[in-house]
């Protein structure tokens, strides 16, 4: 039986959506920044602290056993969510940013040297630029950048030209946070693999909008953040192929990541524990597991279909606003409306929308190269989540008309 997507029922699961902001009902359209949490995620975290809080992997008592089990069960949920071959390929990190840094500092330091090249794209979030810049400064490797066209799409023919024997790594965003573009990452990966080059996929924006299958993509690494996936902040995931992770040196040292320690020598634990030094974000992992359960309950394919319909509705509505220029008009696009309004500073628009209870983001979205590419100092960004409605997009457009009224001469 096919159950239709019931957005009213979905909204009822998110307590924060029922509060007022500046006396108006909250219209939350800042999902690319972070998403709101369903009651089940809040309950999972509360339940951990209320009924079985203990440290994991080292306690000899029942609570420790329960906590360890919940933490490891959440890892299996992530594995299932990403369709990974093995739960040990799932490493808990703080966020997508930390995942990229981990790969740059371990795989990168060991395998990338002076004269080698790392390929990224113009539309990367700073999280997938700076860690590689730091590595380049340390090793003498160089960054090569795939350009994007006026629609905000990756120029694949240019990518083909950049690939060479010197290429040692490719880092690519699955979906742009500043443009909404969905990149053809399967093709990006295939082309890199033809040169024997591993690929890291930044799935921070895509993971909560569409199903992801790391085996089907054949990506070598993939990162995402829990807080964008309707889960807690401070927990994220690095997926890596087992063979690569096993070969990589550890990054941070400390408890839980070791097998035996003497002052002369330490042998390290197995993956994933080799990369999880110290007491981790236990409640974060449990909350992330609950978020994945929630998404699985709705079905990622159904969420994706609903959001795409909503996206099309909003695109028509926004492009009809006089003076509005959409930044990023890729054919394959999800969730994100990044735009400028003639003669009105994005900050001014944000200020007016806030008065109307509408939460959006204004600025450069941690993607300065994208702003430079399109010659805009900043944009207004409205971004959709699984609980947004057509009525909310109507409210957004009304808010933009109010801004035009206030700031137009």
């Amino acid at each position: 039986m096919i159950t239709p997507y019931d957005v009213a029922k979905v909204r009822a699961d998110f307590p924060i959506l029922h509060r007022l902001v500046n006396g108006k009902p909250l219209t939350y359209l800042d999902n690319a920044n972070t998403t709101q949490k369903p009651q089940s995620v809040i309950d999972a975290v509360t339940d951990f602290y209320t009924t079985y809080n203990a440290n994991i992997h080292r306690a000899s008592h029942l609570l420790g056993e329960l906590a360890t089990r919940a933490y490891e069960e959440a890892r299996v949920k992530v594995q299932t969510f990403l369709h990974a071959a093995d739960a040990h390929e799932i490493i808990y990190v703080r966020n997508a940013t930390e995942g990229v840094n981990l790969v740059a500092q371990t795989y990168g330091r060991r395998n990338i040297h002076a004269g080698d090249e790392i390929i990224l794209s113009t539309m990367e979030h700073h999280a997938n630029i700076i860690p590689w810049q730091l590595l380049c400064a340390e090793t003498g490797a160089k960054l090569r950048i795939i350009p994007i066209n006026d629609a905000g799409e990756l120029m694949m023919d240019e990518y083909a030209k950049l690939l060479s024997e010197r290429t040692k790594f490719v880092g690519i965003v699955h979906m742009s946070n500043a443009l909404g573009t969905i990149n053809p990452i399967k093709q990006v990966i295939e082309m890199a693999h033809a040169y024997g080059v591993p690929v890291l996929v930044d799935a921070a924006q895509s993971a909560y909008h569409m199903p992801i299958d790391v085996q089907e993509l054949d990506c070598d690494f993939l990162v995402f953040s829990g807080h964008k996936l309707y889960g807690p902040t401070g927990i994220g995931v690095l997926y890596g192929k087992r063979a690569l992770l096993e070969e990589m040196p550890p990054w941070q040292g400390g408890g839980d990541m070791i097998a035996t320690v003497t002052f002369e020598e330490t042998t390290f634990n197995e993956i994933p524990y080799k990369f999880e030094a110290g007491t981790p974000h236990i409640d974060g992992a449990i909350g992330l597991g609950a978020a994945i359960d929630y998404l699985a309950g709705l079905g990622m394919d159904k969420i994706s279909t609903y959001e795409n319909e909503l996206m099309a509705y909003g695109t028509d509505l926004l492009t009809a606003v006089p003076g509005l220029r959409m930044i990023g008009t890729a054919r394959a696009k999800a969730s994100v409306y990044s735009f400028v309004l003639d003669g009105i500073h994005p900050y001014d628009i944000g200020t007016v929308l806030d008065q109307e209870g509408i939460a959006i983001r204004t600025g450069q979205h941690c993607a300065h190269p994208v702003m430079q590419r399109f010659g805009v100092p900043a944009t207004v960004r409205a971004s959709l989540g699984l609980y947004n409605t057509r009525e909310e997009l109507d409210t957004l457009v009304r808010g933009l008309h109010t801004a035009r009224e206030i700031f137009g001469e």
């Binding site: 500073h345 900050y347 001014d348 200020t351 008065q355 204004t362 600025g363 100092p377 206030i406 700031f407």
Partner: protein, 151 residues
């Protein structure tokens, strides 16, 4: 125009009171923002030779410039922003703080901002323009005070 006339005619406290009274006459928030946008449009042009990296106020989501120079015992400020709301708020801040002595500036908290219902513009949010501008105005006052004391 009005900014200069008023600041010459009024004490720093009177200038704040006058702003508060002016806003009391305004209706809902759209009217307030319209008025602020108007003030922003009327802010005197920023001297182009002062549009320097060192005069850029850090920590604003919009671009903000502020420069100050001593005129007798008073500090005169010029400021600009590419966001109209921020320009308008800056215009208000200059009505209070421009053409004042360092002592006056340092002993006067920007109470008008709360009283006209713009306190969110003084929040801890790092993207906030007005907060950074007022901090910078106070830094000028401290610097000029130190300079006049050593002279």
């Amino acid at each position: 125009m009005t900014a200069e006339v008023l600041s010459e005619a009024l004490t720093i406290d009177k200038a704040q009171e006058e702003i508060v009274e002016e806003f009391d006459y305004l209706g809902d928030w759209t009217e307030r923002y319209k008025h602020i946008a108007d003030l922003g449009r009327k802010l005197p042009p920023f001297p182009e030779d002062q549009r320097l990296e060192e005069n850029k106020v850090k920590g604003c989501q919009s671009q903000v410039w502020l420069s100050g120079h001593l005129n007798g015992k008073q500090i005169v400020f010029d400021a600009d922003s590419d966001a109209l709301i921020v320009r308008g708020l800056i215009a208000l801040a200059l009505r209070v703080y421009s053409g004042r002595t360092p002592e006056e500036i340092l002993s006067t908290p920007p109470e008008f901002i709360n009283k006209i219902g713009m306190s969110e513009h003084l929040s801890a949010n790092r993207a906030n323009g007005l907060q950074a501008v007022i901090k910078q105005i106070k830094r000028y006052a401290v610097a000029f005070q130190a300079r006049t004391e050593t002279e």
